[in-house]
Subunit: 640 residues, 2 copies
């Protein structure tokens, strides 16, 4: 068996970061990168960092300027003007007309506003009050004085800064050059996104993500060709990239797996300071330097990669640019689902956030390091410290916000059963009601109703069949809630059935046929699984007789994908999912997919928008497109 | 006298904005700009907005993938393995070796972690526990299912989004094209920043600022040549710009001054919805449309221009991109200085912010619309509603933050006397102690000490001469504070004197000579003014005898600029300012420029950093460079 380094000792996050930053500092690596400068046109300086303080070349205003529209006069002459004894002034001899910003030159030394001047004729005006010297005159250099410091060093230039630079006569600025970041994807199984995947291939999506993160932080990224799992090749790539860039990132191949040469290569070319951090996701991080440059090995899983970049690469960039990590929006929220975490690492749990009954509720998303969509859907991070074993549902936790508080407050929170229409509703909501959002967490119908009970969601999509009565949803709600506490918003009728490969090669027609094929099920608590159990019970088929009854996936699309790939032969789900994946479909029945909601929530703006959406023509058109939906009752409120 | 439109009726800000947005909506202008799309490479989509929802092309993972490093086995085979009865497996027949991410293919259907496997020999391993099917296997499509919606429409793409797009097989994305913004500077007196200013010329700094604000908001700016004050020329410029851009901005020439043709031109080419807004700075704004495009006339003063862009142009951009204005950090602060505001407008007062004694203190900056440096120095805005006449010093106000709370909390607040060294200290502080900042407001020594009394500042720079004893600072502190309440941090000795033009053409030598020249003074309460009074008193010269004694400017550099320009012949100030402007200097005396501070503030990290800085070699070197400073006592603490 190939040798494996099983024991990757991990260091706590803060310790790893500070040890690394310290080493980069004492080795002079940061100072060397920090001390460069380039001179660019002021017009190109947005977002750039000054490498030295900037002093104004000229004054602003450049001359004594009128601060108002009116006339410029000699203040001494007006000494005796009054209401009882108005003073008449002659154009050019006693006054000139000025607009705001015009120069006020000797002998004139004060300005009277147009509103305070009475016109006598084309060449004469009258005033009724004396004016002090320099009234309504902006003296030369009032705003910016030549020689004055306009911007300090290591200041990130904003539009207002650009304005004063130009006003101060500065046409060029010495700035810190953008850091170049070399990105080396590694892995024999990795392919570029535009290549056709062979079996076992994994698309390199991280390089694109890293390059965008680099650009966001004013760096210039350079993505290199994919390097196979080969010591020599990796070494050559690191040498080249460190010559051509200021920072080098190596992606994947940093866990202690069989094909990981990154650490030995870096140990050979330079020095490895940290290998393995007590962080989840993100453990297999390498912090090193080689050829005088910081070299960081980042894990392959997208979420690990993202978090490792934020946690270790960003601080290096900011240290070189003398920036500090400032915007941290930390808020308190109630945790909707129990989070268990090991003491071995600090964990970054992605959460969705929403306001329910005035409190912020955090619903954990998929925990896997490969769950890139969890990053896309995340409203924030709940950080579980290494010393903590997690938090119980209902406990108050600290959440680092990704979305802003305002966005979260106008989000409609939905926890419960999954359907494809939820994505469409989310899309239409953001489109028709800018600022509003629809946030759905898929835990199955039962878990959704329990979340509604606990005040952790506003709406709970549900399609629970009462096995005794054959009725949907109402009886469950009556059991779980008091009279008048909740109502049911009618949603859609949707066709459920068995998805099979196009052409139905295994000729699956009935529940009996499921006994002879490979099946994939939905998770416990999912309405779809309840429906399957109902049908099996009716047909006298036992779950044990179905190969794959215990194999669970969480969404209709996952079922469809499983069938389409040939991994399994059949799975139950909605017709729209089968259509999306071009599968054949054996109809099993029509069910009612509705939304449970507390009565008082009907007043929320997000909910009103939601109801309007359910009743809209655009929504109905979309349902027709997707196939397998009826919407005659959509948006109606049913009291229990 | 030229005809003036004296009566610019102003509309309240919210009313003006909503009336304008409504018109742009009903005229279909926003919808037309919103409905365009372009297709770009996914790698270029950072910060771009999707024009339609994006659905995944392929799954992620693309196949059932091992979630751990270890071995892939047939789960059914392991059914009987236990501690008492370990199971031996043969390579290739019963298991294969997998790394995280490797495919797990039939007949294998589960993964055992490397740590749980005991090596027997090169071809055999042993396990002691059964494994369920699909253990440690990420099913196909677990993260992203083909056909699933990855991103909704009108979603601004972030790096994590780019990652999932690539993982989902999306190489191109339909996005909203960047809005093009045409910027037309107008005004016969306006010059480009690279031109030599003739008398009366004003540098066009706003175009650069607007273009940067446009880029910040994902727009493409285009700055046109300066258009003189001429109806036909402005009309041609608007026609061209509106043909070539999506939004047109016309700068300056929007007040009802004598040379303002913008409104009539826009009324002729299209429709003027609003002219004049009750906002200060920013009143002379024009909201119009012409040739099917939004056309906005922005005022000439930099601060007015900036605020008008933020208040009126930004919402139009965001409406077209269906973005909402989300990040608003509003905090409460105590106002350090009284703010008086008229009922005629909503006022945007720029403030500096700092923590003093646990409270956030807001110090208003220069109010003038031309005070571009107030925008650069501002930590936030205190918005005075139209209905309010202002706030008293000490009252609690709401402040919209520009800097972050963390930055404000690590800022050392200084209110008091001005010296050039304060800018250098600020620069060095940010440089040596990244994250820390030094924020100084110049109100003169006396006002600074009173701010210290009221708990509105941490340090108060002061150089107040006791006219009776000839001693600096200490006696004032003894009068204003109790024993032990405050201490004095020694600063620098600095040379004060009279600045005159190079060569001293008017042969100014003594206080008597000031009677025959034009003078410029400092403001009441400034230590420099106190010194002048002391000297005049000693020499028996009366203030009335000095022409310009009443002419006041606020800083040493402003005095120097005034003398250098020839506006005045003499003014008192520090030698470093004279050196900066290449003026001659008649020494009047050496004074002590120190910092008053409450004893308990000595413990603050910012203050400790400040003390270290005062004692540092780098600071002393800088002082030698500037000239006229002694630093033998710098950083020493003097108890009273």
């Amino acid at each position: 068996m190939k040798r494996r380094n099983l024991y990757l000792k991990t260091m706590a996050v803060e310790e790893a970061l500070s040890k690394y930053m310290e080493t980069l500092t004492t080795e002079g690596i940061i100072e060397k990168l920090r001390s460069r400068r380039e001179t660019i046109s002021t017009y190109d300086t947005l977002g750039r960092v000054t490498s030295e303080a900037v002093y104004a070349k000229c004054c602003s205003p450049l001359f004594n300027a009128a601060a108002m529209d009116g006339i410029a006069v000699k203040s001494a002459d007006t000494r005796n003007a009054s209401e009882r004894k108005p003073l008449t002034l002659e154009l050019n001899r006693d006054y000139i007309i000025v607009d705001t910003g015009d120069p006020v030159k000797s002998p004139f030394d004060a300005v009277i506003m147009a509103e305070d001047v009475m016109e006598v004729d084309d060449n004469h005006v009258m005033i009724t009050e004396s004016v002090p010297g320099w009234q309504h005159v902006r003296p030369i250099g009032e705003d910016i004085a030549a020689g004055e410091m306009i911007l300090p060093s290591f200041h990130k230039i904003r539009p207002v800064d650009m304005g004063v630079l130009l006003a101060g006569g500065i046409l060029e600025v010495a700035v810190v050059p953008k850091l170049s970041v070399g990105i080396i994807p590694t892995g024999t199984e990795i392919i570029k996104p535009y290549e056709e995947p062979k079996e076992g291939d994994i698309i390199d999506s991280n390089s694109g993500m890293f390059s965008a993160m680099a650009v966001e932080n004013s760096c210039k990224p350079h993505i290199y060709d994919i390097v196979p799992d080969d010591s020599e090749a990796i070494k050559r790539a690191v040498l080249k990239a460190s010559r051509e860039n200021d920072i080098v990132l190596i992606n994947a191949g940093s866990s202690a797996g069989t094909e990981d040469y990154t650490e030995p290569v870096l140990e050979n070319l330079g020095s490895v300071i940290v290998h393995g951090v007590a962080m989840k996701p993100g453990k297999p991080v390498i912090l090193a330097h080689a050829c005088g440059k910081p070299v960081i090995g980042l894990p392959g899983y997208p979420v690990s990669a993202y978090l490792a970049f934020e946690t270790f690469v960003l601080p290096v960039i900011k240290a070189i640019n003398k920036e500090t990590d400032v915007r941290t929006d930390i808020k308190k929220a109630i945790l909707a689902k129990r989070v268990v975490s090991s003491l071995k690492h600090r964990e970054y749990v992605r959460v969705k956030l929403g306001m329910v009954g005035g409190r912020m509720v955090a619903s954990p998303l998929a925990r896997g390091a490969g769950a890139a969509m969890s990053l896309v859907r995340a409203d924030g991070f709940c950080i579980v410290p290494q010393a903590s074993e997690g938090f119980e549902a209902g406990s108050e936790v600290e959440v680092k916000l990704i979305k802003s508080l305002e966005e979260i407050e106008s989000t409609l929170v939905s926890i419960g059963s999954h359907d494809l229409i939820l994505d469409e509703i989310g899309d239409m909501m953001a489109s028709e009601y800018p600022g509003m959002a629809f946030s759905s967490t898929h835990v199955g119908s039962m878990a959704g109703l329990m979340a509604l009970q606990r005040g952790e969601t506003v709406i709970a999509p549900t399609h629970l069949l009462d096995m005794d009565t054959g009725e949907y949803n109402v009886s469950y709600l009556r059991n779980l809630f008091d009279i008048g506490e909740v109502v049911l918003i009618k949603g859609v009728e949707r066709v459920q059935g068995i998805m099979v490969k196009k052409g139905n090669p295994l000729a699956i027609k009935t529940a009996e046929d499921l006994k002879r094929v490979r099946y994939v099920n939905r998770q416990r608590g999912a309405g779809t699984r309840v429906l399957l159990d109902y049908i099996l019970k009716q047909k006298g088929v036992s779950p044990e007789e179905i190969d794959g009854y215990d194999k669970e996936v969480a969404t209709h699309m996952a079922v469809a994908a499983s069938v389409a790939s040939g991994e399994v032969d059949a799975g139950m789900g909605v017709k729209s999912a089968a259509n999306a994946m071009n599968l054949d479909f054996i109809e099993a029945g029509v069910e009612e997919y509705d939304f449970a909601i507390r009565k008082e929530s009907l007043e929320l703006p997000q909910v009103k928008a939601f109801l309007q959406l359910l009743e809209s023509e655009e929504f109905h058109r979309k349902l027709d497109e997707m196939g397998g939906y009826g919407y005659s009752q959509a948006g109606k409120i049913v009291e229990l």
